[in-house]
């Protein structure tokens, strides 16, 4: 319906993305019919879809890293605007919809959250009649998500129809007027989400009662990970410098690091994982051992495992089989002398697939053939399966549905109940509140004071996310780039 915000809900692999790709012409259907504005159409390719007025924001971004924001948007448009015009349009529309972006920045320097804004902008600049959004709020702060909803409602009021793929039930209920639920490739229901509860929607989606949040039985032990005086100039001119980061993570503890993406999370994670080894001596310790300049493998040997937010190309090699992908961080399939034990790698992959409910053809399936959620389950399983003493995770459940996210959170909680420790860097506040005992906020490369989750509120954390905290209690100067969201 014109002006309708229609939700499509479903588990991992329920067929949401496939359905949308068919509508967008990126995938051909085996059968069935599509009707557009009452008339049957066959959409052969995305160009035709765009000509009809259908725009799509994919979950996996389609951006050229080496080009600027404006150039990326320009490439996605088919009209005759010059790049300068597009740059102006980008600035204008991004201000209009509160999607702060500098049009001249390179996409390679943008965080996931910022990249998504580029995608949304690109779609908006085509003036679509139908806008399809695949998990758009997965990386936004509550304030930013709320702001996006304002944008979407504004668009809907202007007559644009919106298909909203999500599994965040609160959002669907707050935003959408109609909701189609998919399960295993079939539409199992069409409801008005405003009349439903989270529980009823979840049951419809999963076919069973929703999973309960993990119950923590925290017994805090020794200091597992200690970061002290970690200052690091940015390695790329558009990155964020870390300033005097300090935190203590004890065994049995789950500490959350909240923040809007692009505030130093990537830099902090790289310094902790050993991908960036420039940290000053003594600034990072695992059970007292200085690892500031140790290689990732040395850190893993000491029990620190890291799960990056990028699943494809960093957490896994898409062109290699799952069994080969175990070798990125696991040494069990390596024999003495450097020979591979392929049987052991396959068995390890098979056991991870079974234990973490990864839906894949088997250990020989190529990593790139898995859906985002299943690949993440595999990667999380690979790291947790190594029984790490310290687990550092970036965006553990980004883009995952309720079932997969719950499984991953449960596993992290179980790991820490068994004496492990986890540092979760996430932009999903709900998740941090559910999983963590304490929170810190990262903003502009600085870390806020620590606060227990029971004392924190989303509003306070949202305020901290914009840099409004200070060791002395005096508010830090409001940064221009992120100040708006805190007050939205």
């Amino acid at each position: 319906m014109p002006g309708e915000i229609h939700a499509v809900l479903g588990e991992n692999g329920a067929g949401k993305s496939t359905l949308m790709k068919i509508i967008y012409g990126a995938v051909r259907p085996d059968g069935g019919a599509l009707a557009w504005n009452g008339a049957p159409v066959a959409i052969h390719n995305p160009r035709q879809a765009r000509a009809l007025g259908i725009a799509m924001v994919f979950q996996h971004f389609a951006l050229f890293e080496t080009l600027t924001v404006a150039e990326n948007v320009w490439l996605g448009l088919e009209n005759k605007m010059t790049r300068a015009q597009v740059a102006r349009e980008v600035e204008r529309v991004s201000r209009l919809y509160g999607l702060e972006l500098e049009s001249a920045r390179l996409v390679s320097s943008l965080s996931v959250g910022e990249r998504q804004r580029v995608e949304i902008l690109r779609a908006l600049l085509t003036n679509p009649q139908l806008l399809i959004l695949d998990e758009p709020t997965a990386v936004l702060t509550p304030q930013m998500a709320e702001r996006l909803f304002v944008t979407l409602r504004q668009l809907a009021a202007e007559g644009c129809s919106i298909v909203y793929i999500s599994h965040k039930l609160d959002e669907v209920r707050a935003l959408c007027t109609r909701c189609t639920v998919l399960r295993a490739g079939r539409a199992v229901g069409s409801v008005d989400p405003r009349l439903e509860t989270n529980r009823s929607l979840s049951e419809l989606m999963l076919g069973e009662a929703p999973p309960a949040p993990p119950v923590r039985t925290a017994r805090l032990g020794d200091t597992a990970l200690e970061v002290r005086g970690l200052s690091l100039p940015s390695s790329d001119e558009l990155g964020v410098a870390l300033a005097d980061i300090g935190l203590v993570l004890r065994s049995g503890e789950i500490l959350g690091v909240a923040g809007v993406s692009g505030n130093g999370q990537a830099e902090l994670l790289a310094a902790l994982s050993g991908e960036d080894r420039r940290a000053p001596a003594g600034s990072i310790r695992i059970y007292g051992r200085d690892v500031a300049s140790a290689a990732p493998r040395a850190r893993r040997a000491l029990g620190l495992h890291f799960i990056p937010e990028e699943r494809i190309g960093r957490g896994s090699v898409p062109g290699l089989a799952l069994s080969a992908n175990t070798l990125l961080t696991r040494r069990e399939p390596v024999r003495r002398g450097g020979w591979l034990h392929r049987g052991r790698a396959r068995r390890l992959a098979a056991s991870l697939i079974a234990r973490f409910g990864v839906s894949a053809r088997g250990p020989d399936a190529v990593a790139g053939s898995l859906s985002g959620g299943n690949l993440q389950k595999f990667i999380v399983g690979r790291e947790i399966g190594a029984a790490p003493k310290v687990l550092v995770v970036g965006q553990p459940t980004w883009g995952l549905d309720v079932g997969a996210a719950a499984l991953i959170r449960r596993e992290i909680a179980a790991l820490c109940d068994a004496g492990g420790a986890a540092l979760i860097v996430s932009e999903d506040l709900e998740e941090l509140f559910e999983l963590c005992s304490d929170l810190v906020v990262i903003a502009r490369g600085r870390l806020s004071p620590r606060i227990a989750v029971r004392d924190a509120s989303p509003a306070l954390i949202g305020q901290w996310m914009s840099g409004l905290f200070g060791e002395t209690g005096a508010p830090a100067p409001v940064p221009v780039a992120t100040g708006v969201e805190a007050h939205a």
Partner: protein, 371 residues
Amino acid sequence: MLRLVPRSPPSRALTLAAPFVALGLTVLFGAILFLALGHPPGQALALFFVEPLRGADAWSELAVKATPLALVALGLAICFRANVWNIGAEGQFIVGALGATAVAMRAHEGINGTHAAVILPAIALAGIAAGAAWAAVVAFLRDRWNANEILVSLMLVYVADMLLGYLTYGPWKDPDGYNFPQTISFLPVTQVPLVAEGHRAHAGLFVALFVALGAWLFLFRTYGGFQLAVGGQAPRAARYAGFSARRSLWTALLCSGGLAGLAGALEVTGPLGQLTPHLPVGYGFTGIIVAFVGRLHPFGILLSSILMSMLYIGGELAQSRLGLPQALSGVFQGLLLFTLLACDALASYRVLRVTPQPQPEKTGEKTAVAV
């Protein structure tokens, strides 16, 4: 207008069939070419695809050329899999031959009567070391100053060629050689043993087979080979895993330079028996085609090196029997590479007839066509 749309997943049958379709197309284009040159295509094509397989002598000649091609291509496959673009195997081949010559000539001077079991390994090692050293220049410049390895390795080919010219026209010239630019003929003791008396095929053939097996084991059965492949396919995953990009770079270039150098050493002490400025006949460059036609797979490379060697011999036969230019073998090699690349592209993409449009493809699929 036609547009390529990624097949997901790429057709497995087509991927396997691509080299054969490419070969078929090459034959077809070759036939057209011969018709245009005024020769019956059947007879001319037979020179390329039948004659080189006829009789023991033919097979021996085939092996003589396939051996250096396979050795060079095996090294390049390791390099290309690590995403290190060594285009200068020709130079490493030449310098390997120089290293081997230095040892082989010394055998003549002093250690006359030395047993072949000592001198032959010394020659091979000298070739490997010299070729690897030449490639190490590339690795060092890339490692230290991030110099582009394609340009550096290519330019070093010309430096190597100059060096070869200088030595054969200068210090290494045979004093009794009527002023020809060539070294002394090496002593028989330095001669690589022949496979069979009366044929030119030499034991280098077995070396190449052995190296192919070794390369296969390294690439697909060792942690080191795995790290190399990850570094080539997903550098960020390699950094995440903690695999050293520098180590990959050095391993790839040293392997590839060493094997090219070994090929040069076997060439100069095998079929040639002395060093002349005419040593390089393009094995280093043709090795690039051999590596890709062989799918960067050691066993595929063994087959493609035989095929490419047929094209070399066919070109020579076409010249001597039909008076056609020798450049024909180059044309055939080029045809084969181009048709193969086209077939590869069509195996992972399908063609759609559409009107032009800018279309940013999904990330991850957009790089699939790059070679």
